[in-house]
């Protein structure tokens, strides 16, 4: 279950420097590492890492076997060191070694797999899962317990679906994706034509197309397109409880955190990020490399990279209330200040013998 410290160093391209206490480099290299932990929690069979200066104090006290550190922390590190340029990236790489293992190949006897579904080599289908007619699962795909795969769905090789996932018919998932429990992909977009008798349903005829290496958080929902398709680019990461409406498009390698929403036909560029609980209005287009703050409402297209925020800061309720009630008179206040400025300008003009001072107002 463990890994030799020297092997981990080699795998990361890190320099192994044996710690104090008489240990030589060879003995240090033979130490077996069974896990990773933060400096203050790591035990003698674990590796730790320091990715920011704020953990340097904890490093001094660590009981870990060894630490991933940058050059400048060598002296302060009381244990064996694995020195590399980016300890955070090193840590990220090593997590693979200790991740939960993939379940074994095979279809659980309680699963229901349509005779017209095609399963690649090494596919795992968990208990009570169901796979519809015409579905095609690539090699190494994992379908978690109780997940429902609709007709004509395609899933690329080595993608993993956790428990209770629902994929509607025709959905396309790329390779090496990870869909967490409760995810829904391909549900109907919110499309209704108003009539005198109420809403008339617009059946949603598009699909959802998801690229490779996309991760989708628990209970996140992605609607199918109305006519065209909803599209999620390669490498996109969606957190939990995110809502992606019909015909949205998300560019490659964008990251959308928990409880964000994109309204219908909104398009987010590549390499963007959205802070928690933020939302994009329908039919807008956001450029590449835009960062959106948490709980921010984006109501218009953004055509330049940058960081965008809406809303106010928070404050203690009694203070907040005094200021918030004033917000409703803000337009009035601007007009009152304009009048004061005009009055002031008039008085100054009088004092200065009619020579006007430049207006105070900044445009």
């Amino acid at each position: 279950m463990g890994f030799r410290l020297a092997d981990l160093a080699e795998q990361l391209g890190a320099r192994l420097i044996a710690g104090e206490g008489g240990a030589d480099a060879e003995a240090a290299g033979d130490i077996e590492i069974c896990g990773i932990a933060n400096p203050d929690r790591a035990g003698p069979a674990q590796l730790t890492f320091v990715a920011s200066k704020s953990y340097a104090a904890a490093l001094a006290r660590t009981r870990a076997a060894a630490a991933l550190i940058t050059e400048d922390l060598i002296e302060q590190c009381p244990v064996h060191r694995l020195v590399l340029a980016d300890p955070y990236l090193g840590y990220a790489r090593l997590t693979t070694l200790f991740a939960r293992p993939k379940p074994p190949a095979g279809v659980h006897p309680s699963a229901v797999v349509d005779a017209a579904a095609m399963l690649g080599a090494g596919v795992h289908v968990g208990p009570h899962a169901s796979i519809g007619a015409g579905a095609r699962l690539g090699d190494g795909v994992v379908i978690g317990a109780n997940s429902c795969i609709g007709e004509e769905v395609t899933i690329g090789a080595d993608s993993v679906l956790c428990a209770n996932v629902s994929l509607y018919s025709g959905v396309q998932i790329g390779a090496r994706c990870l869909l967490h429990a409760g995810v829904v992909v391909g549900s109907d977009g919110f499309g209704f034509a108003p009539t005198a008798e109420g809403f008339l349903k617009i059946h949603q005829l598009g699909r959802v197309i998801i690229g490779d290496e996309v991760e989708i958080g628990a209970n996140t929902c992605i609607d199918r397109g109305a006519l065209d398709d909803t599209r999620i680019g390669a490498g996109v990461k969606l957190d939990n409880l995110v809502h992606i409406a019909h015909n949205c498009e998300i560019g490659d390698h964008s990251a959308i955190t928990g409880q964000c929403g994109m309204a219908g036909s909104a398009r987010l560029g590549k390499g963007c990020s959205m802070g928690g609980q933020s939302g994009l209005a329908g039919h807008i287009r956001v450029a590449d490399h835009v960062q959106i703050g948490g709980q921010t409402r984006i109501t218009k297209s953004i055509d330049r990279p940058g960081t965008y925020v809406s809303g106010t800061g928070f404050s203690e309720a009694s203070q907040w209330r005094k200021n918030a009630v004033r917000f409703d008179r803000l337009n009035d206040l601007f007009k009152r200040v304009e009048r004061l400025e005009a009055d002031q300008a008039g008085q100054n003009a009088g004092k200065n013998g009619g020579k006007m001072k430049p207006a105070n107002r900044q445009q």
Copy 2:
């Protein structure tokens, strides 16, 4: 799989006008239509439509077999035309023809149906679904794979539940409803009595009563009432990830978009709409025909139709920050302006020989 163009025209009450290129009306009427697509994506076996002027340019380039258009676009349409007053409504109607087919009647052998449940004619129960004692399912009801129907639930004729839906005991669903994957109806409301030892659970004894033709989006949750019932009117549409707390009431034909929330005992009128991520506070009452903006917080009852919004616009973060910090001094600023006005008024009174000018302040 296709439909004659002439038949579609008749169904919609549209006028078929054969396009240029020598085709006569009879030959045009015999064309087989196999789908609907937007003007720029439609192929020669598909119908397209133009519901707004912004698509008129795309119409000129369309390769569709025919287009649903208004009278004024006849000349600009390069393909066969189906002329009618409301192409969007026409499109909505035709989507029914191309919608996913209803699954066949029958109970999957892996489903668990209590002996004391009553199933109407033509009911479909998917794999690994379960139906509790005393549940009554109307004719033509569809229960998706892995859906759980609690005891004493009633579901009206032709309602469709997708995969992984959970209905708690006693829930009542109307006819012709559509519940998307992951929907939960009848979970406990958030009711606790505070005591010195922590919260004491208030068991939730009410039900959820849902009218006819209600659509509920993926992973949306509707809590049962504490004592009275939670009530959703006929024709109501709820989008994905919506939260409806205990004892809420929603009037007929209201539409609530993604990630909105209604706190306990809030009441929304008929024909209302809520933009994405907006919320109603508990125990408030919103009149009929009220539109609520996206990410808007409604903290008090609204008794007049209209559109209501809270929050601020968004801006680039460095600009936003400068303004947002000022929000916390807004009340001060109003007082400062009042003092300036008083001062100004005093000076003007002095200049005018004691005659007061009207105050600048607007009430």
Copy 3:
């Protein structure tokens, strides 16, 4: 199915005072109570209660068998009275009697229970549930239909999981918890290291540890820790569609209402509350006994108890727009007012023969 009124009085420590109309106390005590309802809906076999003055009018008209009331309402109560100090608490206690019964012990034949799972006495496992290897379920635990319990999960005695719940491997749930339908616990935190080729997944190696008597609302998601654990204290109540990110900590007896979110490593103290749709930024720490308003964004740590709010009030859209556009010029406005004040001060200084008046500006 019913309970003697005298027995209920005894159970609550309430004083039974027979109503008008000739009934004596003994006859009143023998009345059978079959349910609880609000004053205006209660029938002659039901008990009602008045917890706030606003229901006193409804009490005068009630058709209930009896009412839980405070001393001061005895005269106004037209039916038998159960007099006690806190009728709301009394009502909360009595709801237990009418709650849905626990399902009987036993494992449904369609459930899949790993041979290496350990089930306590009286455990119920519903249809199509699955229990992984090494899972340990305490006495009286209920696993709802279609729920998936991962490997090495532990669940304390008498905890109840409703339908379609997903627990990832290693999750620990305390005793007497209630997890509603669609809940996900132990999904991966949103952890990725940015690289030139896109995001590198940081496998999430921590667990989720949940205390006793925790209730978790429908479709709520709680991520596992990255290295350390995500921790939910005893008696915590989470409403529907809440998002708890990796490494969050929630102190005992805090209550988080619908659609709230906590970003990674945020810590909420004991006895706190969060109003609907509010959010905590990552890595912040909120003190004990803090109340956070609905739709409020908390971006910094809070070290003092109190109530905190962000955002603005709502108003009719045309009014709102006029004020909201001004928000973007708020910093300018402050500068303009400063200039006016300086000018005013200068003029006053002139009038006063060079003697400066105190500045108008409040700090």
